[in-house]
């Protein structure tokens, strides 16, 4: 597989859930996004005055430390292979650090190429980038092109897995299922088994899915580290869905191998938060304040333990979200919604963002947030929509008892 062996973590290559995000303007979501933006434009306190210009700064002070992995500034890479390597490096860096600037650097490299010149590895990469930017339909299109025309097992497996993940993230389990099936045929192993388990768990068979995947993890010998970690991440998610304490252990195993797996870190920190263990959540999020998802969890945990730093972090987050709203497109609605709900205690605003997010992403934590916001805002219509969808999927989750 093109980059399954070289990337440090399976989450990096498959990334069920990008750490940073753009609201994808999908049908249904547009209303909520528009509604949310309207609210923002109407509120007069969108932006505070900029900080004053400080002309008198010291010569010896280090003003900023540049990231070591800044983009190569020497023009266009010489070959498609070199371009693919550079783009892959940038996307990996974005995921490892949670820094979306790297996605912009990567996209710039695509913009320098004619679309019809892109080979299969580049198309898969472009889909991965699009997925990171929540342009799910664009990602689907590139992946389908690759699956239609490519015979290369590595490209096909990567495309299948990415496509299955997109369908899973968007709650299209009936589309994800056959893709997992195809993945099992073309690339059998723990990643394919995890794919199946995830679909089964979210459509009513969580217990069976957990047991089968746990058995597979134990019985398969000669497992790649990616496959093992991928399965552990999936087991953690299903265990949390079942309300089992083993969830933390699975996620810790992933983190001990790959501390920069921001998605798993956020899952685990969230788990601690939900299970009344904010101090553990603080330990996990320490030093990760730059990443919105982890910073919001940290702000809630600080608030819960009445930490003196709580207001300062909340105020920094406020500035970040204000800037992101001004920007308009580059915003993690899930994090903003959670911030509105748990820190600002504005259930109405929280619900707008939660529903806009839920229009394009329906992972358990997205659904839980939308349910909580709908309850807090006493919006029966939104609550009904969520419950109806969960019923259709036959999805139950110990993380949201509110569903029934």
């Amino acid at each position: 597989m093109m980059y399954s062996d070289r990337t440090p973590s399976h989450r990096t290559q498959t990334s069920l859930h990008p750490v940073f995000s753009l609201p994808a303007l999908r049908r249904g979501g547009a209303f909520w996004i528009g509604f949310g933006l309207l609210g923002v434009l109407c509120s007069s306190a969108v932006m505070a005055a900029p900080s004053p210009i400080q002309s008198d700064f010291d010569d010896d002070t280090v003003l900023v430390t540049l990231p070591a992995s800044a983009p190569a500034n020497d023009g266009v890479p010489s070959s498609p292979e070199a371009t693919a390597r550079e783009i892959q490096r940038l996307i990996s860096e974005a995921r490892r650090s949670g820094d979306p600037r790297f996605l912009g650097y990567a996209e710039r490299l695509f913009n320098q190429q004619a679309s019809q010149d892109l080979n299969d590895p580049l198309l898969v990469l472009r889909a991965t980038l699009a997925q990171s930017l929540h342009r799910f339909d664009a990602a689907r299109q590139d992946l389908k092109t690759v699956l239609d025309r490519s015979d290369a097992p590595a490209q096909r497996a990567q495309a299948l897995l990415t496509l299955a993940n997109i369908e899973m993230v968007q709650g299209q389990y009936d589309r994800a299922g056959p893709l997992c099936e195809q993945l099992t045929t073309e690339y059998p192993g723990l990643i394919a088994s995890s794919c199946h388990a995830q679909v089964a768990a979210r459509t009513g068979s969580a217990k069976v899915a957990y047991d089968e995947l746990a058995t597979a993890t134990r019985s398969l010998s000669n497992v790649s580290i990616q496959g093992f970690l991928w399965a552990q991440g999936t087991l953690g998610d299903i265990a949390a869905q079942l309300g089992q304490n083993s969830a933390a252990g699975h996620w810790q195993r992933v983190l001990s191998q790959d501390p920069d797996d921001l998605y798993t870190r956020a899952q685990l920190a969230d788990w601690y938060l939900q299970n009344e263990n904010p101090r553990q959540a603080l330990v996990l999020t320490e030093g990760y304040e730059a990443v919105d998802s982890l910073a919001v969890i940290r702000a809630i945990a600080l608030h819960r333990v009445n930490h003196p730093d709580a207001p300062a972090l909340a105020s920094r987050l406020r500035e970040r979200f204000d800037e992101a709203l001004w920007r308009g497109s580059m915003l993690h609605q899930r994090d903003l919604s959670r911030f509105e709900l748990d820190i600002e205690q504005r259930p109405g605003a929280a619900l707008q963002h939660a529903m806009a997010n839920w229009a394009s992403q329906r992972e358990p934590l997205d659904t839980r947030l939308a349910l909580r916001a709908a309850l807090a805002a006493q919006d029966k219509a939104a609550l009904g929509r969520l419950q109806e969808w969960l019923k259709q999927q036959n999805q139950t989750d110990a993380r949201y008892p509110e569903a029934s």
């Binding site: 940073f20 434009l41 969108v46 932006m47 900029p50 900080s51 004053p52 210009i53 400080q54 002309s55 008198d56 700064f57 010291d58 010569d59 010896d60 002070t61 280090v62 003003l63 900023v64 430390t65 540049l66 990231p67 070591a68 800044a70 983009p71 500034n73 650090s97 949670g98 820094d99 979306p100 600037r101 996605l103 912009g104 650097y105 996209e107 710039r108 913009n111 930017l133 030093g287 304040e289 730059a290 990443v291 919105d292 910073a295 920094r316 500035e319 970040r320 800037e323 992101a324 001004w326 920007r327 308009g328 497109s329 580059m330």
Partner: protein, 370 residues
């Protein structure tokens, strides 16, 4: 160490200790249309992609390294920002240069005065910085003109922004305020109740009248109605204009209280015409005070609107349209009901009582705010 220098060090220490957010690259452009100025903030990290700031290649940028590249940095920024007025390109005159900070760390900030040909105001801004390095880079623009602040975004797809866009075009001003006028009449329950009370007498049927009189009676009713509505309209247009143009200003709490009181008085006058039976006079007198009430709403809406007269006309017309719409629906209904015996005996007294109670409650509530 001088106090000033100490302050600078402390600020830098604050920069250094904060965990900065990861976010997509944004620069900030604050355009001040009143002072014809612009402030531009760019992240040092982004600037480093364009200007070789890190002279010694240690990945760290010091104050000295930034100062050493001041000329190149300034040129780079100025080349990427183009301001134009009707007469042509405007020049940027530097006024201040230094550091600022946003949620993701330190920024280089530059303050400019914008000099356009013939001292005109700039009309549009074009921005192209960094789009070739980072396709997700955006220029976040804040335009301040008078009391309005509008926010917009410059992107590779939309590198030009109209700076006068904050000031609405004539038609859109008129349309917006027409709409606001209608909405205000329809959601302003007090104006509606007042209108209802004024219209009620015109619906009452004098039972002693003979049948052949009834056609003439409808005609005279409509005339009476037109008189009332016109008087109310003329009156509130006068005071609305006086107030909107800042010629007369009354304290809003008093105005609101008197408006509430006017409804109660008008209701009482239907039963016991102590102010006379010429309802149009009443409509005119109280219309004056209602105009001040409309003006307070209009005042909240017109901040920064350049064409106040047009806004005023639109708003006033909107109020009339709303009023007329209500009458077209409401008057026939009331008139139809007037033929039911119970109308005069029960319904009208009940309406008057209800309106009276509600308006007196408002009086009490609003008087509290004085």
């Amino acid at each position: 160490m001088s106090a000033k220098k100490l302050l600078a060090v402390l600020i830098m220490a604050a920069f250094a200790s904060t965990a900065f957010a990861h976010k997509a690259s944004d620069s900030f452009l604050y355009v001040d249309m009143d002072a014809s100025g612009i402030r531009f903030d760019i992240a040092l990290r982004d600037l480093a992609l364009l200007v070789p700031l890190d002279a010694n290649g240690d990945q760290r940028i010091t104050g000295q390294e930034l100062r050493a590249q001041r000329t190149l940095a300034t040129q780079t920024v100025e080349n990427a920002i183009t301001l134009t007025s009707e007469q042509g390109a405007c020049k940027l005159r530097g006024q201040a240069w230094g550091l600022s900070s946003h949620s993701d760390g330190p920024y280089l900030a530059t303050q400019y005065r914008i000099d356009c040909p013939n001292g005109e105001l700039p009309e549009q801004i074009e921005y192209t910085l960094l789009f070739d390095q980072d396709s997700l880079h955006r220029g976040l623009v804040e335009i301040t003109a008078g009391e309005t602040r509008s926010l917009t975004v410059l992107s590779p797809d939309k590198p030009v922004v109209d700076l006068t866009g904050g000031a609405m075009g004539a038609w859109s001003t008129f349309g917006t305020f027409l709409y606001e006028g209608i909405v205000h009449l329809l959601i302003g329950l007090d104006h509606m109740l007042f209108l209802l009370v004024l219209v009620l007498p015109a619906t009452l049927i004098n039972r002693r009248q003979s049948n052949q009189d009834s056609t003439r009676s409808l005609k005279s009713r409509l005339l009476q109605l037109a008189g009332i509505v016109t008087a109310f309209t003329v009156a509130h247009s006068i005071t609305l204009a006086l107030s909107a143009l800042n010629i007369v200003r009354l304290p809003i709490a008093w105005v609101e209280t008197v408006i509430a009181l006017s409804i109660a008085v008008a209701a009482l006058n239907v039963v016991w015409p102590f102010l006379g039976r010429k309802t149009w006079k009443l409509a005119f007198a109280f219309g004056l005070i209602h105009g001040f009430g409309f003006a307070s709403v209009l005042g909240d809406l017109t901040g920064g609107v350049s064409n106040l007269a047009l806004a005023l006309a639109g708003f006033n017309l909107g109020v009339e349209v709303g009023q007329l719409g209500l009458l077209i629906i409401g008057f026939p209904l009331l008139y139809a009901m007037a033929h039911v015996r119970a109308y005069q005996r029960f319904i009208v007294p009940l309406i008057l009582m209800g309106v009276g109670i509600v308006s007196l409650m408002w009086v009490a509530e609003r008087a509290g705010a004085i």
